[in-house]
Amino acid sequence: MANELTLPPSSDPRWTSVATGKIHRPWSNLAMKIMMSRITRETARDASTANVQKCAAEIFAFFQKNLKIASDDLAAILA
């Protein structure tokens, strides 16, 4: 599945929606579960554009580096 998925660019608004919890899925990868727990707490505490963008960039980087093992979670975001 990993090779069939295209990673949206870092500017794609879905990354900020994931960071703020507006897009929330039953994540399957352990790293995604832990990272998203921290990020949604962080963006709830500080919802400034700068902070949300920083968190969105972290999520984008995660998928860039982990496409082989987190393709199910990327598919869930794109669905």
Binding site: P26, W27, L30, M32, K33, I34, K68, I69
Partner: protein
Amino acid sequence: MSKTGMHTLSEVSQMISDGRILMLAGDEDLLSKLPAGKWIGGTSVNFIADQGGTTDRDRIFVTDLTDRTDKVEIRAYDADTINKLGADYPANGFAAIIVPGMSGIHASFAKDVQSYDGIFNSPLIGWIAGVHLSEIGKRAPKSFAGNGVPLSDKAAVMHVTLPEDLHATVDIINLFSQGTGDAIVFDKDGFESDGDCHIAGKPVSLARYVAERGIDTKLPLVANYNGAMINVSIQSVDQDAGKVQFYAPVFNGVEYRFAEPVNDYAATFAKNLQGQKIGDVAFSCNCILNYAYAELEGKKTGTLVGPITFGEVAYMLLNQTLAYLTIQRAA
């Protein structure tokens, strides 16, 4: 052929001389006699071996990664550099970390690891080195980064590059789940609750709450991280001072509940394992509290073997949990 399992000092020395890529757990007196090579190690004298839980000061538990590994880089990080761990990750592979227990770097890693830059960008697996329970306070746990020099305040990390057709995954098996008791929320991060926290929405001393409810403190606090059950174990409760100490930090904003009890850990574990497709496990470790509380000496945890530790690392510090690494061929 993989050499994973219990081995003598001379056998492990030979493996290192042969250039094998190893993660090692054993008594400090053994690990400090090993030659330099492609290995990292951490002190421990308790293991789940092929025959079950065992205490062994004469042999070393070997996790042999040689056959599936392209190359490795071994580094030691101190409290000032550990936050750069993610920058050194391999492009395809994983990082294995061993942190000396009860050290400054243990505390800072546990508290801050989730915020290290890029920490989730590669699988991160490992453990907190320990000592025999009777030696706590007498001997310090140690890590080893590629040679026999014991490190009491540095984390040993092996950055492992896998061939392109393989990938690594880290996951956990935690038999504990959140009980139906009150939700507990802490006002600050840390290894201690020394004042009021919020229990069922009201400010309450956790120490008093534990005493009044007669809570079994062998049961961890459990948080639900998007479906991953993450434990924080109770180290001590001081009623007079109103303090509760934890084996891992609690985090502000996370909702904890005391766990449901688990009857017969070994049998429940084996049953749980049967229902899962966890693939080809290259490494696993389990917690000294599970070993002690569930009396795992002589008992097996399914087919999984590995060191017994003072904390497990699967991207973050865990308690009373089995952490494991699988290496699989890309689909």
